[in-house]
Amino acid sequence: MADDNIPIRRRNFLLGAGTAVAASLTPPAAEAQTAPTAPGDAEPLLTLTPTEHAFFVAAADTLIPADNLSPSGSQCGVAAFIDRQLAGAYGSGARLYRDGPFLKGKPELGYQLPLNPREFFRAGIAAANEWSRKTYGKDFDRLADADREAALQAMESGKAEFSGFSSRMFFNALLDISMEGFFADPIYGGNRDMAAWKMVGYPGLPATYREDIKKYFGKKYDKPPRSIADFS
């Protein structure tokens, strides 16, 4: 079984591997992009198991690979963001109606499972790794880059046959929460150094443009982004 590794070792392994991958992919001109302010993978976890964390790191780095535009998803804190989200109110089902009976419905009727987001990802990652072991002989986070991409594509299209779980639904939730982590204000642990905002040119706060909307009409806005933390 690929599951039987010691948690500490797994995390150390990942920390090393992630850094190496990022460094090799990053063109020299964008050196600054590879230096996140906080060493994300060394942060204590609130709710994720080491296996789950490793899964999210690998997924985030495949969905949001390091390049000249930004460091990788996990380097930007996406896995730390997910850990915090799933440990908090959202993860435990805030604003989710959870009375039964739970019946299978058409997709147009929306989410109908009894699982809260924390439970959903626990079950989903277990199913994804089981499928990955069956298909590639290893857990998802142990796959080479090209296989990770192929695996996520198979989940996205629903072709990956997870046992007892919709791989497409899992993928969509994974993509959503990863993008939330990448683009949300850095106060939540992702989007470190406002890397995602810099990548697209979103200025963040304070967002008071009464004069600028005229001044910058048709012109590129050139002020660096600021976060909620910069005003707190």
Binding site: L63, P65, D67, L69, S70, Y90, G93, A94, R95, L96, Y97, R98, D99, P101, L103, K106, P107, E108, L109, G110, Y111, Q112, E149, L152, E156, L175, S178, M179, E180, F183, A184, D185, I187, Y188, A196, M199, V200, G201, Y202, P203, G204, L205, P206, A207, T208, Y209, R210, D212, I213, K214, Y216, F217, G218, K219, K220, Y221, I228, D230, F231, S232
Partner: protein
């Protein structure tokens, strides 16, 4: 044990837009009014401040200000033959909670219905013949004409300090305004908002096609403005955090900014927050709602508040729920067409959109107000000839971003993957160079679209959920197809570097993507108690002291965002209560 309280002159259920207006007008007339609001007492100076007000994740994504679906939701089935399932997480629409209701976090597009929308059934019959309207399309006239309502539209616009430009000033057509609107007696209280790049591109393209573009009528004040309540709105900051957020500049008109400071200072008004109304105590023989039962959600204590007048302003779903559970009026039966409570539930036909990309233009989508688009009404309502088209109604068509918050707003050209290297490149490249042209279509009542009580699922108070039987039908799909064609023409006329294929609403109604919080019907207004729940003054046909507010009274839905009409009807009804009902309490219309 239920504690019975001292009787008051009037009780208002829900202190959002309509509850605030009614409470204010009734206290001005000398009544003692109690406002029962299920949510907390949110006030902008504490709740909506920089920097936390700019929290995209908290407000836009995790839905901080909306009804808590853990406690209360609705269920949906696409047709009466199916089993409804609960909406477990809000998506398609986002009912508000807390003081100010959805009025605290709306976008501010503030419309009047077209004169022909007011008399829809009569208008279509006159223009297209007696047999033009299919049997299953159960549309009706709004029993208040445009001309009658004009002063009340005007009043609501002055309350909100709406920014815009008249297109029809006392019959004179004015270029740059909406030339299709009904005649207005007065110009808008404030000039239009500053132009955006996207709006300018839209304006030029529409003019080149011979259409009539105009800037959205907007309750985001373009200038500092003091309304007739003595409340001052700040000037809009174009912050790009409008819809789903409170406004830190006090520039977005809301009950919290426009009315509540005056109301809360009035000793005739008592606000009870955390007061969730559970049921109405109805005396059928006396034709009265004698009292209102509510739970104080801080203690679990139950209270009974007797009142001479009861105002129901709890938004569409809870308005219908409270009437059905009290047994006021006859529930609608889609098989026989009998009964009116729950009848003619409507929504809007959205999901038509096209995204345009311009390599050489900086759009700056993050500098935006909530209601900041440039629109055309050339294909709305009956502004164009429907002869031979096979459908009625139309859509407003709009371009202009409301925000550039990148969790949700980061357009990429068609064919771009959703993640990975190519996605990153495209996102970085196009983020500041694209915008979407969208449309909001009319939704005309259908016999099989209605609200009733769910037989299975319950809310936290043990009451049945409201069940929506709802889907789009032939008229909606044809309308969407037609509007999709217009969107394509407008997009092409912009001469973009790349454009998406205009999407056309297809398939079953989905509760997942946000479409609009423009739910209507269920307690509709009309001239006949058999086919309506309230009369033209929004007074219940079955309980003389009960007045029902909000879009639940719309006989069907026009393409417009509802609150202009909702606010106008609230003032219209308040005027009838004060000038007629108080003098002789009883039915204001004899059926």
């Amino acid at each position: 044990m239920t504690v019975t309280l001292k009787e008051t002159d009037a009780v208002v259920i829900g202190v959002g837009w309509t509850g605030s207006i009614l409470a204010r007008e009734l206290t001005k007339a000398g009544l003692n009014v109690v406002g029962l609001e299920r949510g907390a007492k949110r006030m902008p100076r504490d709740d909506f401040t920089i920097p936390s007000v700019r929290d995209d994740l908290k407000y836009a994504v995790r839905q901080e200000l909306f009804q808590d679906t853990q406690l209360e939701t609705v269920s949906l089935r696409h047709s009466p033959s199916e089993t409804a399932l609960p909406i477990r997480r809000l998506g398609s629409f986002l009912p508000g909670t807390d003081l100010g209701g959805a009025g605290a976090h709306w976008n501010g597009m503030t419309w009047r219905w077209l004169p022909s929308d007011h008399r829809l059934r009569s208008h279509i019959t006159e223009r297209y013949g007696k047999n033009a309207i299919p049997d299953e399309m159960t549309i009706q006239d709004l029993p208040v004409s445009y001309d009658e309502l004009e002063p009340y539209y005007d009043k609501f616009e002055k309350l909100c300090g709406v920014s815009g430009k008249a297109g029809n000033l006392r019959g004179k057509i004015v270029d740059g305004g909406n030339v299709f609107e009904g005649p207005r007696q007065n110009e808008y209280p404030n000039p239009p908002l500053a132009k955006s790049m996207a709006g300018t591109i839209m304006d030029t393209a529409c003019r080149s096609l011979g259409y009539h573009p105009f800037q959205a009528p907007s309750s985001n004040a373009s200038e500092v403005y003091t309304n007739f309540e003595g409340q001052t709105l700040g000037a809009c900051e174009y912050c790009g955090h409008c819809e789903r957020f409170g406004c830190e500049a006090n520039a977005k008109a809301s009950p919290n900014v426009c009315i509540l400071p005056a109301l809360l200072a009035d000793s005739k008004f008592e606000l009870r927050a955390h007061a969730q109304v559970k049921e109405l105590v109805y005396d059928k023989a006396a034709r009265k709602v004698k009292a209102v039962r509510y739970v104080d959600t801080r203690s679990g204590e139950e209270y009974e508040q007797p009142a001479s007048i009861v105002i129901l302003g709890a938004y569409v779903f809870n308005n219908v729920l409270l009437m059905l559970t009290a047994g006021i009026g006859e529930p609608y039966d889609y098989k026989t067409g009998k009964g009116a409570v729950g009848r003619n539930y409507c929504y809007q036909v959205s999901g038509n959109a096209v995204t345009v990309f311009f390599e050489d233009k900086e759009i700056n989508p993050f500098m935006a107000a909530g209601a900041h688009g440039v629109l055309i009404d050339d294909f709305n309502g009956d502004n164009f000839d429907h002869g031979g088209l096979g459908f009625f109604g139309g859509a407003w068509i709009q371009a202009g971003p409301t925000n550039g918050r990148p969790i949700a707003t980061r357009p990429v050209p068609p064919g771009t993957p959703r993640w990975g290297r190519d996605w990153k490149q495209a996102t970085a490249k196009w983020y500041n160079h694209a915008f979407t042209i969208g449309a909001s279509g009319c939704n005309y009542a259908h016999r099989e679209n209605f609200l009733d009580l769910d037989p299975t699922y319950r809310d936290a108070l043990g009451r049945p959920l409201i069940r929506l039987s709802y889907n789009f039908h032939d008229n909606d799909y044809k309308l969407a197809g037609y509007v999709g064609g217009v969107l394509g023409r407008v997009a092409k006329a912009m001469n973009p570097t790349v454009m998406s294929t205009p999407s056309v609403k297809k398939g079953d109604y989905s509760v997942v993507p946000y479409q609009s919080t423009h739910n209507t019907g269920g307690t509709i207004t009309g001239t006949d108690p058999k086919t309506s729940v309230v009369n033209r003054y929004l007074q219940s046909w079955d309980a003389d002291n009960l007045f029902v507010m909000g879009a639940s009274v719309f006989p069907q839905n026009a393409s417009y965002n509802p609150t202009g009409l909702v606010g106008a009807l609230a003032y219209w009804s308040a005027n009838a209560i004060v000038t007629q009902y108080l003098k002789s309490p009883g039915p204001l219309v004899h059926a």
